[in-house]
Symmetry: C2
Subunit: 143 residues, 2 copies
DNA sequence: ATCATCTACAACCATTTGGTTGTAGGTTAG
DNA sequence: CTAACCTACAACCAAATGGTTGTAGATGAT
């Protein structure tokens, strides 16, 4: 979206490509085994050109690549792009966990032993009420 | 997109929400510590209403939740949604790896010992040329 | 009570998306 | 060569997105 090229290394294009059920299904089919565009097109209730556009979106996102075989074009999924998206999500989750760890550390240091200090990086079921006190109190606008 | 409700358990909405740099940045800031909407809005070169819309998109995707504190609304990231997205990606990668394993098994059974039969589920660097023979040869169109 | 702040929401606009049809270029089969 | 098939791409259209401004409701501070 309005992201011309290298704003974020294509992450936006990547997630956008993944945000359509048809495109995700194309990825599934191609992950199972390379498919020609026309074979893919036969699977969906839309025109050949529409499927072609979906493949183009996937291709520009780096999620698939095409290679000729005779007169058809085989579509193959490109797992590196998947991995990139997953890494982005991992980064976010790591940030969140980092915050939780910080909070746990604070709690552990204020009260004697509310719980062992989060040793295993587990998913942390309880949302640990109490807003982190991160936000500085009422800092006037910088005007 | 045209996906009104339960087409895929909100996966499309999820990835769509993640497909915008501003929204990903909001997630980052909120993962670090809950932020009020106006505080978030002050960080971006766009109107308050625009940021509000972004937060709404994130909220409808399940990526954040809001909770009142006085007159402000604190935005917090919801890691379960992140996990859901990651699981979807994992499923795709698993499909792809499954295919690679199938191919490796075929190769291993046709020639004596090209390599030990892919014991560890490693990422499989080489793209293993040769199209899987999956596609049945020239099946005429069903018309 | 009054004022400043934070939020919600509607109306509007430019651009993009997802879909269509139609035309044209290569490849393989007969 | 001719016919059938697969692909590429342009032109067009309805709907959704991402942004704007403006108005109005709550809440907190003076």
């Amino acid at each position: 979206m309005v992201v011309d090229d290298a704003d974020d290394g294509g992450l936006s294009r990547l997630f956008h490509a993944l945000s359509d059920p048809t495109r995700r299904d194309i990825l599934r089919r191609c992950a199972h085994g390379d498919q020609s565009v026309s074979r893919l097109a036969a699977e969906y209730p839309m025109s050949f050109a529409a499927v072609q556009k979906h493949v183009t979106v996937l291709e520009r996102a780096g999620l698939v690549s095409k290679r000729r075989r005779g007169r058809e074009q085989l579509v193959r999924t490109e797992p590196d792009a998947l991995a990139k998206a997953r890494r982005a999500l991992d980064e976010l989750e790591a940030l969140w966990r980092g915050r939780v760890e910080r909070m746990s550390a604070l709690l552990a240091q204020e009260s004697p032993t509310p719980r062992p200090p989060a040793q295993g990086l587990r998913h942390c079921e309880e949302h640990t009420e109490a807003h982190t006190d991160e936000q500085d109190p009422r800092k006037g606008p910088e005007s």
